[in-house]
């Protein structure tokens, strides 16, 4: 069968026939087998309290010439919480 051979109402009818009594779960499973990629939810595994505390303890405010307060993080003082590859420095820099 070539559904593209049909035109107008005949095409619509053929298309509906394809979906008639279709099992949605099975269809989705087959689409995934055919290359559909479901997005996985991104969960951030960050201990917010810990990093907030680190940020408070290792940063200082500077009043700049344009009369704005800017927060700087002292990188050297920040310790890694554990042996994870992502250092607290990187995360704090992003947080600031």
């Amino acid at each position: 069968m070539n559904i593209f051979e049909y035109d107008g109402e005949e095409f619509d009818k053929k298309l509906e026939e394809i979906f008639k009594d279709i099992n949605k779960d099975e269809l989705k499973k087959e689409l995934i087998e055919c290359g559909l990629e479901i997005q996985e939810e991104v969960e951030l595994d960050i201990d917010a309290d810990y990093y907030n505390k680190e940020l408070e303890e290792n940063s200082y405010w500077v009043h700049s010439r344009d009369s704005r307060w800017t927060r700087f993080v002292s990188k050297l003082k920040i310790k890694k919480k554990n042996s994870q590859e992502n250092s607290s420095e990187e995360i704090l820099e992003k947080a600031v």
């Binding site: 069968m1 559904i3 298309l15 989705k28 689409l31 055919c34 290359g35 559909l36 479901i38 997005q39």
Partner: protein, 200 residues
């Protein structure tokens, strides 16, 4: 005008190119150069320059940036081929009639999954729908699909063209591919210009 004939180009590494020409055969999915937005098939460009751009992208993926022309011609080839088919076996996604039908199919899938958040945000719907329709035999007489797709290019000074429009063919039935041969690579000046406007 029932019969269609196109001269097309496929960019790939030297080893794959030699194998394809020696066997006079493209195997869909066997070559890792196959991109797959139109589903499983053998991908070609209408323009030789776009096959070079594709090869440069593959080189970048292998961390080979800024390849000299000498290294490029040592490692990459362009395979030329002819395809012949009837218009009824061709899905042209630049033709309003075919686009409208394909749009109806996509919308029907959206309707089926209208309350499904996972489907809504899923990636690669086109290839999944096309592969599914082939698997079920709903498009078994379609031997090739054509689509023009934009490729971002590195042209910050140009206001009128941030993309190169590439005419892409996905061949679903390898039997229609004939006259498979290695064609002359582009000349050094053209290669350097392609590299200059690309991100690779």
């Amino acid at each position: 005008m029932d019969n269609l004939e196109y001269e097309l180009y496929h960019g790939t590494n030297k080893e794959s190119a030699n194998k394809i020409v020696k066997n006079q055969l493209f195997i869909p999915g066997a070559d890792d150069d196959n991109e797959d937005f139109l589903g499983k098939g053998v991908y070609f460009f209408r323009e030789k320059q776009h096959a070079v751009l594709w090869n440069l992208k593959k080189a970048k993926d292998k961390r080979r940036r800024n390849l000299s022309y000498k290294k490029y011609v040592l490692n990459y080839e362009i395979v030329g081929a002819k395809i012949k088919l009837k218009k009824s076996n061709f899905l042209d996604l630049e033709d309003a009639n075919d686009i409208a039908k394909y749009e109806k199919i996509c919308k029907r899938f959206e309707k089926e999954f209208e309350e499904d958040e996972e489907y809504k945000y899923a990636k690669h719907k086109d290839r999944a729908i096309l592969n599914y329709f082939y698997k079920k035999g709903y498009m078994e007489d379609i031997y090739a699909i054509r689509k023009i797709m934009g490729q971002n290019i590195n042209t910050t000074g140009l206001n009128i063209a941030k993309q190169m429009q590439r005419e892409i063919f996905c061949i679903k039935k390898p039997d229609i591919i004939n006259d498979i041969r290695i064609v002359n690579n582009v000349e050094e000046n053209t290669y350097n210009n392609i590299k200059y406007i690309s991100f690779y």
